[in-house]
C-alpha cells in the first residue's frame, strides 16, 4: 500500500511519512463510513450529545451551589473544555489502540504485522469515522462560552497558555493511550482497568483538583501526570495558588511532561511488540 522509503532517511522524513500514511488510512476508513450517510449523521449527533452529558452534570451541580471546592461555574467549565477538547482529539487520533488486546486474542495482530505499515498506525486508524469529530463540538462550544466569562485580566502569557495547554493535553493523553495499549502485550485483560487512566483521567481533569485528597492529587501529578493535562497550566491562567505548593515553573511544564511521557510510551510500545509471541493453539 505504501512504498518503503530508501534506507538512510532521517527522522523528519520518517515522521512525515508516518503522518501521510496515517492520513491515507484514515481517509480510507472515512470513505467507507460515508457509504451510510444517515447512520453517520445520527451517530455523529449521538456522539456529540453523549460527550455533552458531563456538561449537564456540571450544570446540575452549579444549579445548587455557586462554588464547588472554591471554583465557580465558568472556571470549572474552562477546566472541562480544555480537558475534554484534549481528550477528544487524542481519542480521535489514537483511541482505537485500546483494541490491541482484542487483536492479540483473535490473532489478527499477525495480519497487521506482515503489512509494510507500522502496526500502531494501522490500529490507530482502524474504523476511523468522521462521527468522532462530533466529540469536539461540546468542548469547543463550552470554551467559547467560558473563556470570556473567566474573572481574570487577560495577559499575552495567559492567552498563549490556552492553546499550549490543549496541545500538551493532547500529547499527554496520546502517550497514555499508547502506554495503556502497550501494557496489553503483557497483560491481556488490562484494558478494563486501564480505562480508569484514559476515560477516568479524562473525567477527573474536568474538575478542580481541590476536590480531591492531597495524596490522590500527588498520585495524579507524579505517578500518572494527569494534573499536567490542564490543572497545572490552568492555575497559571486563573492566577490561583497551587494546593500542593509546587514551584511556579511546574505550571509551564506540561509540554515537557507530554514529550517525556510519549518517549516512555514509545519505548514501552517497542518493548511490547518485541515481547509479542503470537497466540498459541
Amino acid at each position: 500500500m505504501v512504498s518503503e522509503t530508501a534506507g538512510g532517511a532521517g527522522p523528519l522524513p520518517r515522521a512525515g511519512q508516518a503522518v501521510s500514511t496515517y492520513c491515507l488510512l484514515a481517509w480510507t476508513w472515512i470513505r467507507a463510513a460515508a457509504q451510510y450517510p444517515v447512520s453517520l449523521t445520527l451517530l455523529a449527533l449521538g456522539t456529540m450529545v453523549t460527550t455533552g452529558l458531563d456538561i449537564m452534570g456540571i450544570m446540575v451541580l452549579f444549579s445548587r451551589t455557586p462554588r464547588i471546592a472554591g471554583f465557580t461555574a465558568s472556571e470549572v467549565l474552562f477546566l472541562y473544555g480544555t480537558s475534554a477538547l484534549a481528550f477528544a482529539t487524542s481519542d480521535i487520533l489514537l483511541g482505537t489502540t485500546e483494541r490491541l488486546g482484542e487483536h492479540v486474542r483473535e490473532g489478527t495482530l499477525d495480519a497487521l504485522l506482515v503489512r509494510p505499515v507500522s502496526p500502531l498506525i494501522q490500529i490507530a486508524t482502524e474504523d476511523f469515522s468522521p462521527r468522532r469529530f462530533g466529540r469536539l463540538v461540546p468542548p469547543t462550544l463550552v470554551l467559547a462560552l467560558a473563556l470570556p466569562r473567566l474573572p481574570i485580566a487577560w495577559t499575552p502569557g495567559r492567552v498563549a497558555m490556552v492553546p499550549v495547554m490543549v496541545v500538551s493535553g493532547v500529547v499527554i493523553f496520546a502517550g497514555l493511550w499508547v502506554l495503556c495499549a502497550a501494557l496489553q502485550f503483557v497483560l491481556l485483560n488490562s484494558q478494563g482497568a486501564t480505562k480508569a487512566i484514559t476515560y477516568g483521567g479524562a473525567f477527573l481533569t474536568q474538575y478542580p483538583m481541590t476536590l480531591f485528597a492531597r495524596d490522590f492529587v500527588r498520585g495524579v501529578t507524579f505517578v500518572v501526570p494527569l494534573a499536567f493535562v490542564n490543572w497545572a497550566p490552568a492555575l497559571y491562567v486563573l492566577g490561583r495558588p497551587d494546593p500542593l505548593g509546587l514551584p511556579g515553573w511546574t505550571r509551564f511544564a506540561s509540554p515537557v511532561v507530554g514529550a517525556a511521557l510519549c518517549a516512555v510510551a514509545a519505548v514501552a510500545w517497542r518493548a511490547g511488540l518485541r515481547h509479542y509471541r503470537s497466540t498459541g493453539n
Partner: protein, 262 residues
C-alpha cells in the same frame, strides 16, 4: 419452563468465564466511584442535607451507582442485536422457547455474574477509603428486591431497543440516544435528589429512575413503609408495561423477519 433455568445458568457461567477481565472493569468502576464521591462530597459540603441525603449518603450513593453499572448494564446493548444483524436470530425463533423469555433468562444470568464480579469491589473500595452507610438487614433485603426489579426493567428497555433492529437494521444510533437518556435520567451522573425541582420531578416519573435512583434510595433507607412499596411498584409497573410492549413488538418482528437461506 424446563429449559429456561439452564439458559440462566449457562449465561452465568459464560459471563464468569473470564473473571480477571471483569475484575479489571471493577477497578475502573472503583476509580470512578472515588472521583464521583469527591465531587458529591464537595456539593454536600456546600449544601448540607440537600435532597434529604447527608454527606455519608452521598458517598455511599457514588459507589453504589458504580456497583450497579454492571448488573443493570447502564451503557446498554444486548447480544441479541448481533444475532439479528447476522440473521442468527432465525435459529433463536426456531427454538420451541419464547424469544423474550430466553433472552430474559440469559440476561438474569449475566446480571448475577456481574453482581458477583463487578459490584462487590467498588463497595469494598468505598468502605476502605470513605465512611459509608451500611444498610440494616431489612434495608438490604428490600434492596435485593429493588435491584432485581432494576435488572428486569433494564432488560425490558434494552429488549425494546434491540428489537428496533428488525426495522432499522442498525441499532447504534438509537443506542446512542438511549445511553444519554439512561445515564442522565437514572441518576448515574448526578443523583436525582440533587436535580432542580421540575427536572427532578420529570426524571423521577421516567422509567430510568428505576434503574439506579430507586434501588439506591432503598439501600440508603430513604424509602421505608409506603414509600418503599410505591418505589417497588413503580419499578414493577414500568417493567411489566415495557415487557408487554416487548411481547407485541416480538410478534410484529417475527412476521416481518425474512431470513436468507443458502
Amino acid at each position: 419452563m424446563g429449559v429456561i433455568p439452564w439458559v440462566s445458568w449457562y449465561a452465568l457461567r459464560r459471563h464468569s468465564a473470564y473473571p480477571l477481565g471483569s475484575m479489571a472493569e471493577a477497578v475502573t468502576n472503583s476509580f470512578f466511584g472515588v472521583v464521583r464521591a469527591a465531587i458529591l462530597l464537595a456539593l454536600w459540603h456546600a449544601r448540607p442535607g440537600l435532597g434529604g441525603y447527608d454527606a455519608t449518603d452521598a458517598v455511599t450513593y457514588s459507589f453504589l451507582t458504580q456497583a450497579l453499572i454492571g448488573p443493570v448494564q447502564i451503557f446498554g446493548g444486548m447480544e441479541l442485536a448481533q444475532r439479528i444483524r447476522s440473521g442468527d436470530v432465525a435459529i433463536d425463533l426456531h427454538r420451541p422457547v419464547d424469544l423474550q423469555a430466553w433472552w430474559l433468562a440469559d440476561d438474569v444470568g449475566r446480571a448475577l455474574s456481574t453482581l458477583l464480579l463487578r459490584a462487590v469491589p467498588p463497595m469494598l473500595v468505598g468502605a476502605l477509603l470513605f465512611t459509608m452507610r451500611p444498610p440494616s438487614p431489612g434495608e438490604a433485603a428490600a434492596f435485593a428486591v429493588s435491584a432485581g426489579l432494576a435488572v428486569l426493567l433494564s432488560f425490558s428497555l434494552r429488549y425494546l431497543v434491540t428489537l428496533s433492529m428488525f426495522w432499522l437494521h442498525d441499532e447504534r444510533g438509537i443506542n446512542a440516544v438511549m445511553l444519554v437518556l439512561s445515564m442522565f435520567f437514572s441518576g448515574m451522573i448526578v443523583p436525582l435528589v440533587a436535580f432542580p425541582e421540575t427536572l427532578g420531578n420529570v426524571a423521577r416519573a421516567l422509567p430510568w429512575s428505576g434503574l439506579v435512583q430507586i434501588p439506591a434510595d432503598v439501600f440508603l433507607g430513604q424509602r421505608t413503609g409506603g414509600a418503599l412499596l410505591s418505589g417497588l411498584a413503580f419499578q414493577a409497573a414500568w417493567a411489566a408495561g415495557l415487557l408487554a410492549a416487548g411481547r407485541l413488538l416480538t410478534h410484529a418482528a417475527t412476521r416481518r423477519l425474512e431470513a436468507q437461506g443458502g
